[in-house]
């Protein structure tokens, strides 16, 4: 996400230019040809790992402990994106806290500074991501985000309600797909997404990929895409008209327009 930071007089002192995998460039001042710029590099966890000047020479390298405490000095009285910086999480160097959405997070303590707004959502009201900051994220202070790898496919970050996620995991296990890196998900306290906000899964996606939509209240859908990027199979959750919950739908692309087949149980063959 691109953003600019003004000082008290309204002068822009910092500009981040967003890219598909986090911010690409940070300028000291507005993004003009005379501004000093730095390319940003992230590690696999999404932390800012290095900066390089516009000629590509490394100008800084950053490391952190597991909970995100920086191992290098951070300039005083500034806001910067370091640990989980790929997700635009900002470290306030004056307070040494990271803004994690609903709650401030102290990376030195490895704890949130206010209680979990999700009652019963954590082992204790202040812990961060079940105290597993390497594999699990809690980027808004309300629910954890997990990274799932399904065989050769990567299902990008997704957040689900606890029971729903367990259901998905069980299903994937039945399908014989190795699941790596998933620990748990806690119940989010927010209301199910309003219908207006519902995202819909497209008919085409990345070849051999999987997409997931969580409509809240245990309702949602998983869509598998085939090697040609066409929708291949849906697994629906949260409704049952006789095929069970969840159930599967197979796509038939020999028809024009393509048809989604009627629901079938997934017990026999996923």
């Amino acid at each position: 996400m691109s953003w600019a930071e003004p000082d008290g007089t309204g002068t822009i002192t910092l500009t981040d230019v967003g890219g598909p995998g986090g911010d690409l460039v940070r300028y000291a001042g507005p993004p003009t040809t005379s501004s000093t710029g730095s390319f940003l590099y992230y590690n696999g966890h999404g932390d800012t790992a290095a900066e390089a000047d516009l000629a590509g020479a490394r100008t800084a390298a950053y490391t952190y402990d597991a909970f995100g405490a920086p191992r290098q000095m951070v300039p005083s009285n500034t806001t910067t994106e370091r640990w989980t910086g790929r997700f635009d999480k900002k470290l306030d160097s004056r307070s040494s806290l990271v803004e994690m959405g609903a709650r401030p997070y102290d990376p030195v303590l490895g704890r949130f500074l206010s209680v979990d707004p999700v009652e019963g959502g954590s082992f204790n009201p202040y812990d961060y991501a079940y105290q597993d900051p390497v594999n699990v994220y809690d980027l808004n202070g309300r629910y954890v985000v997990v990274l799932a790898l399904f065989g050769a496919r990567t299902l990008p970050f997704f957040a689900m309600r606890g029971a729903h996620l367990v259901q998905v995991l069980r299903l994937l296990a039945v399908a014989g797909l190795p699941v790596v890196g998933i620990l748990a998900a806690k119940e989010a306290a927010d209301e199910p997404p309003a219908r207006e906000e519902r995202r819909r899964l497209p008919l085409h996606g990345e070849p051999n990929s999987t997409d997931v939509i969580d409509r809240g209240g245990g309702r949602g859908q998983i869509r598998d895409y085939g090697p040609d990027g066409r929708a291949k199979k849906d697994i629906d959750f949260g409704h049952d008209h006789g095929a069970g919950d969840p159930h599967a739908h197979d796509w038939d692309w020999t028809k024009t327009p393509p048809e989604r087949g009627q629901g079938r149980p997934i017990r026999d063959h996923v």
Partner: protein, 163 residues
Amino acid sequence: MTVASAFCFGYVKELDIPLVIESQPQVISAYGFALVTVIDSHHDVAELTSVERLLSEQRVGVSTLDRHLVVPRDLLLELVDPDEWNLFNGFDEVWFFPRPPLIPLPADIVITSEAALDRERAGRVAEWMQASGAGLALGDGYGLNYATFDPAIADILESRTAR
């Protein structure tokens, strides 16, 4: 939106059937009955367990036509409510009539939104709607296909596109 005389059809990515029923009731207010012809990609809706359960309650105005379900419009809010019947979750199809429908929908007419309606399909839809007395058709899945003889309804539905 495509307009051919008074027949309008189109596709609105931002909409689905529950959203129209709950948030845009004026769209369906002129029609007293709905013919539900697809639920969850299932065309023989009368044999679905959820529909069988609804039929068993013997509610006024609820019946079957061929393999499809006829319901009074006022029941639709209950049918879309996730805490009530939770009948519509995408890949559904509903046709609206001012009077109870009498002519079954041919099997080759489908407007669920795997693809936007084109002129050829819309032509068949228009013919059947005219023959059967249907005033509005909605089919969803990925966005919403609609067809209607009322341009005012088309305008309301299309206004979602610009939002």
